[in-house]
Subunit: 359 residues, 2 copies
């Protein structure tokens, strides 16, 4: 098989060994005589998968008893609506920070329901950047501060979470489990699995139980975090196959040094590409140095024509998905946890060759 | 491989040829050099899968242009909340029919939001049954009539949908695409895929566009059917792998004679088990003749001890998942579309043998 280097922003590259293991046991799961996708979500075979996924996530995130893990669906987009629906009573408010496309959607969904405040907005700055520590001026009456740790489209990443007096609720869709973090800063973390942790179809939510308990009884039962927490994510049939792959990927992360080990790999991978950009006057990063994402590396070429040519030629060399998001253009190399170093080297070599020919 | 006969109520047996095809192309999807679970939901490879899934569902359901298909998540349980949230304005009402555990949940979620009416309740009748045509007395001001076509736990099935003056909204989770139906009777149909159509993780919704358009602008965007319909279920990242399996299963249904062909197979399978029950004084059906489900066949033995023994001995003979739902006890044989005739024959033979030994 000629495996391509998949730079897609998500769904994205997963560890080859995980794919091979899932393939080997796809029709007959561990001698049960059935596929895992045919297995009851309340049976023994799936139960072991589910419990290991919860245990791995709890361990990686360093959860204490006051936090719970829930497997939900609808991606981060559904969390944008569900967080205020659950955590904010009729007269409650929360603070939001606007850092780009995703936080904008989160703000819009929250505003449909409650009166929230945008305390910082860097979404239109150039170069692109994340807010500085002193820009997080939270209001005393805010139940939480909502932010996005990594803007997938812009290619910006918050390198250090601010010390604030309210719990942080973080959309970590594109960098969860790519680096260590201190769970005690957070009231909640959520992420669609399809970047660093698995396939599309499951959203991982970690939440402080006392925040989940704020929900009003008027909220539909299925939309309450408490429902999913109390039922260990088995209130309704969960997306069993997606959770199974998440289990295998979290197992792979633990085998690769846990979050500290993964961060080291991710930093090394990103550095190679940023170094290539900085060493050239042909390539240009639109992102300020201190806000450069290790996950989604965005850069520009001298013209849109050259960018299109770059994407097309890379594709012939088995480098797929390098086209920037349609809203911003340019090039985007998404290099999540499982993206291999050889693919980074191939891209850097290609960048050098392409500049020589067209620079 | 020793494939078991999987009588689980869902997730459930899928066609072996579908599993084998998915396994073969799991690591390298059609020569793309990546797994489908790694592929962008906006790329060519996944796009072909998505479009065929929509086309197959539209064809099987006989959809005209006034209906749309949407792939959603959260199972039927989420639809219980989302239907009233979208279709009912503040002063609107709808009629519900209570036929068992699932409709009860739908009623509770609807009541949290709107003032709806329960126009018929057969949930506590014995023998268990579905309402007769004359019991569906809909109110003139009802926006829709909500019902469940097949109660998975009770083992009851509505054999003929009532002719009423309002559109029917049907929870078809456990019998969608198991038999033909006239779409013009319905305002909406929804079903978690994990019984007759695929794995857990995707909910198939078919809705009349004019009903979807009733939604208020106060409803979070992610929860509006219009959002998903207008974006062809790509507003957020859809559960791509689950939709892929649904595509393969709908292709398999079409190859097997479409809904008419599948219904014939299902009727023949169910008849063998009901005949075995009726021919015996040892086994007893708790369901009235005219309401017997072709999908979930529930029956009782003379004692709970014998029922436990029956389940245990069947398991040794590779017949799995025969234990009735924990809320009602007894035996339940769930025999969805893909459940093979040989499994039915094995069960009937076992029933005969077990009665001889213990009757």
């Amino acid at each position: 098989m000629a495996r391509v280097y998949n730079f897609s922003a998500g769904p994205a590259t997963l560890p080859l060994e995980v794919l091979q293991e899932a393939q080997a046991e796809f029709v007959d799961f561990k001698g049960t005589g059935m596929s895992l996708i045919e297995a009851s979500h309340r049976g023994k075979a799936y139960d072991a998968v589910h419990e290991e996924a919860v245990a791995n996530i709890s361990k990686l995130a360093g959860l204490t008893d006051d936090y719970a893990v829930a497997f939900m669906t609808g991606g981060a987009s559904q969390q944008f609506a569900q967080i205020p629906m659950n955590l904010l009573g009729e007269n409650d408010t929360a603070d939001h920070v606007n850092t780009g496309a995703w936080t904008k959607k989160a703000i819009a969904e929250a505003k449909l329901q409650r009166s929230i405040k945008v305390i910082a907005d860097v979404s239109k700055e150039s170069p692109l950047r994340m807010p500085r520590e002193d820009e997080f001026k939270v209001n005393k009456d805010a139940v939480y501060l909502h932010l996005c740790s990594n803007e997938t489209i812009a290619g910006t990443q918050l390198k250090k979470f601010p010390k604030v007096d309210v719990p942080i609720v973080a959309d970590m869709s594109s960098d969860m489990f790519s680096r260590p973090f201190d769970i005690r800063q957070f009231g909640a973390i959520y992420a669609g699995a399809q970047k660093n942790m698995g396939p599309a179809g499951v959203t991982i939510v970690i939440m402080r139980k006392d925040l989940a308990a704020r929900v009003s009884e008027k909220v539909p039962k299925i939309f309450r975090y408490t429902t999913h927490i109390e039922n260990n994510s088995l209130y309704n049939t969960p997306p069993t196959f997606s959770i199974y792959i998440v289990m295998l990927v979290t197992r792979w992360i633990m085998k690769n040094g846990g979050l500290a080990g993964i961060e080291k790999m991710n930093a090394a991978k990103a550095a190679k590409i940023y170094d290539a950009i900085d060493a050239s006057s042909f390539y240009r990063s639109p992102v300020a140095n201190d806000s450069r994402s290790f996950m989604n590396i965005t850069f520009r070429l001298p013209s849109e024509e050259l960018e299109a040519q770059f994407v097309a030629e890379a594709k012939k060399l088995k480098m797929d998905g390098l086209k920037g998001h349609r809203d911003v253009g340019g090039i985007r190399a998404s290099i999540y946890n499982a993206f291999p170093m050889e693919g980074i080297d191939a891209l850097v070599q290609f960048m050098t060759d392409f500049e020589k020919k067209n620079g």
